[in-house]
Amino acid sequence: MRQHLPHPENRLTITFAAWFLGLLALTTTGARAEQPAPVKIGFVTFLTGPAAAPFGIPDHNAAELLVESLNAGQVPAPYAQVGLGGAKIEAKFLDEAGSASDVVTQFRNLAERDHVDVVVGYVSSGNCLAVTPVAEELKQLTVLDICGTPRVFEEKPRHYVFRVNPHATMDNVSTAKYALAKFKDVSVYSGINQNYAWGQDSWRDFRLVMKDLDPKATVDKELFPKLFAGEYGAEISTLLTSNAQFIHSSFYDGDLEAFIYQAAARGLPQRIPLVLTTGESSLWRLGAKVPDGTVIGARGPHTFFAHESALNVWFHKAYVDRFKEQPIYPAYDFAQSLFGLKTAWEKAQAKKGGGRPTTEEVIAAFEGISFPTPSTTVQMALGNGHQGISDTAVGTYKFDKAESRPEMVDIVRYSAACVNPPADVNSIAWLEGGMKGAKCD
């Protein structure tokens, strides 16, 4: 586990390795002798607390891996160029744990004490909402990473803030569509979601979509256990006594696993199938505990759902080789964020015919671009080109006993235009309005 901790000495070795390989690459390719100044990037994610395991660590691993590989120019096309446009990436990691005031203070320090060129990160929607206005105030180029709330770009247009990863709306649109297709003529369903913004929003979105697509379906039980409650006996009894045809949940990691253990032990998922909008992140640890037939989403076409590509093969292999564990969607999310930034940076650089692009030039290049990622292709379509959308996929879980590894069957893909609101529409309004303008095929 130790290498997960960004101890100073580790960061040192990483940078040394990077330099060495970088120089090697340069001499072999016989590129220009003098080094362009490195690009300083501040990476913020959960390094401590309950959110570290599910998000922070895969996030941080992907960052470590990609920064090192990019600096060494080892990433396959179209990202073969060293660092960002030939300039090495100099990474600085910060913990996202703490109150909003801590997070905002740390953001200011990154921008003005450490003078980073870009800030990439943030898992918690609350933190994304908190730093965005500060980023605008400080004119600090910022790429939000995992947080899902649509509010960031729907409350007002942003100039300095981007989010490559699609927001949470499409997760529930796609899973709802999938559930309706899978469980024929659904009339009753229940939901259990964590009692905080993420869980509340997920459940609201899911219900709105259900209302649009299956007006006769009614909600039986809707439960909101405390975040990180750990003990779900009462909730499981309630659900056991429910006559729902399936149970929606946006639980993740710790809470999801605790819920699955306790529910499975009491035969709940065997009786009523679960629809887990972000279940993918826990499958590798849960293995056979998750009963076959559970509906799984991954907040985008990641891991099981990723499109085949050289980039994906490389990323998956490099990650597993290095960390001896499977990359889960937060790792893919981070890769998308960084590749988006790299694309924009290098586009801007090319546009001005070489030389380091200014923040404004990067922003101009970033807006509206589309680019390949290990999982799929992302299009910066929403929020005046600041919010990415992509297709997504949902599947049904099946544990391969022979290989003793999780696998996904009956995968259904949904095009970006089908599960995301049109550019100028607020996502809740879109759901309430019956998802007008959705282009499904």
Binding site: M1, A52, F224, E231, G233, A234
Partner: protein, 298 residues
């Protein structure tokens, strides 16, 4: 009818959990007047320890019964080590200081231990799934109860009985009761209060770790599980009456049943039902339900 039964059993299961995390806290408070925040760390260490040790044990395919014993054993060892280190190495330095200062000391220790956990076991989460499967289930109508949960209830009850027996019937228990009643008198009677403190703290630590150890099979053992436990245990202890084992039991039952009822009937209030109960109890019986205020001597 079924719902009523469900509420009852769920309440009991939750109460068992609450009692397990509260008993150590209330014991330490009763004897040492320390509101011990590191109790959360004991819980976490117990959970990690049992998740790993017992996990390995079951992976080796050893007999099930031994696994459950191992849980308790792990808790004992962790409690012993952590308890001794903290009491002898740290708290000892702060005896006689303001109660709140000592709370802050344990808070500081808790912060440190949070990261120590991370340094020892890393940031990834662990799972101990075998016991739940081994314990099987009991069907009551459409309601399926986990054998492990029933086990928890029994275990907690035994612990409660054992504790009250130990306090009322054993010599050691009498010593404790004296110390709880009045430290000065205890010292005057020639009781070695320092020793009593050390032993009490270690036992409290063991109980805290035990709570974590037996909960480990039900939860994903991950960073920060201690934080949740602290306030929950505080609430239970405050409701029951600081420093009273019976109080902890009563508090656990009340909170457990209230929460279960809330989840089944009005899920909206589940989030703060515990604190509402706590506030009400404190308002009408500030000393908690089980303890009597010592009459003011003038």
């Amino acid at each position: 009818m079924l719902t009523a039964f469900a509420i009852l059993t769920d309440g009991l299961v939750y109460a068992a959990y609450l009692f397990l995390i509260a008993i150590g806290l209330t014991l330490i408070f009763g004897v040492m007047r320390i509101l011990n925040v590191t109790h959360g760390s004991f819980y976490a260490f117990g959970a990690y320890g049992s998740a790993i040790a017992v996990g390995i044990y079951f992976d080796r395919g050893f007999p099930a019964a031994g696994g459950f014993l191992l849980m308790v054993l792990v808790a004992m060892v962790i409690g012993l080590v952590l308890g001794l280190i903290l009491e002898r190495g740290l708290l000892r330095l702060f005896y006689g200081k303001d109660e709140v200062i000592v709370v802050l000391v344990t808070y500081a220790a808790f912060l440190i231990l949070e990261d120590v956990i991370k340094l020892i076991w890393g940031p990834n989460s662990y799972a101990l799934y075998q016991p739940l499967a081994l314990a099987g289930t009991i069907d009551v109508g459409s309601l399926v109860l986990s054998g492990y949960d029933i086990g928890l209830i029994v275990f907690a009850s035994l612990l409660a009985i054992g504790a009250s027996f130990a306090l009322k019937r054993t010599r050691w228990g009498h010593l404790l009761t004296v110390v709880i009643f009045d430290r000065e008198i205890a010292a005057a009677l020639g009781i070695n209060v320092t020793a009593v403190y050390t032993i009490t703290f270690v036992i409290g630590a063991m109980l805290g770790a035990l709570g974590g150890a037996v909960m480990a099979p039900k939860i994903a053992v991950t960073l920060g599980i201690g934080v949740e436990v602290i306030v929950l245990a505080f609430a239970v202890v405050a409701i029951g009456g600081m420093g009273s084992i019976g109080g902890a039991l009563l508090g656990a039952l009340i909170v457990g049943e209230c929460r279960a009822a809330a989840v089944h009937l009005v899920p909206q209030i589940e989030l703060f039902v515990i604190y509402a109960v706590m506030a009400l109890v404190l308002i009408f019986r500030p000393q908690g339900l089980f303890t009597r205020i010592a009459p003011r001597k003038i």
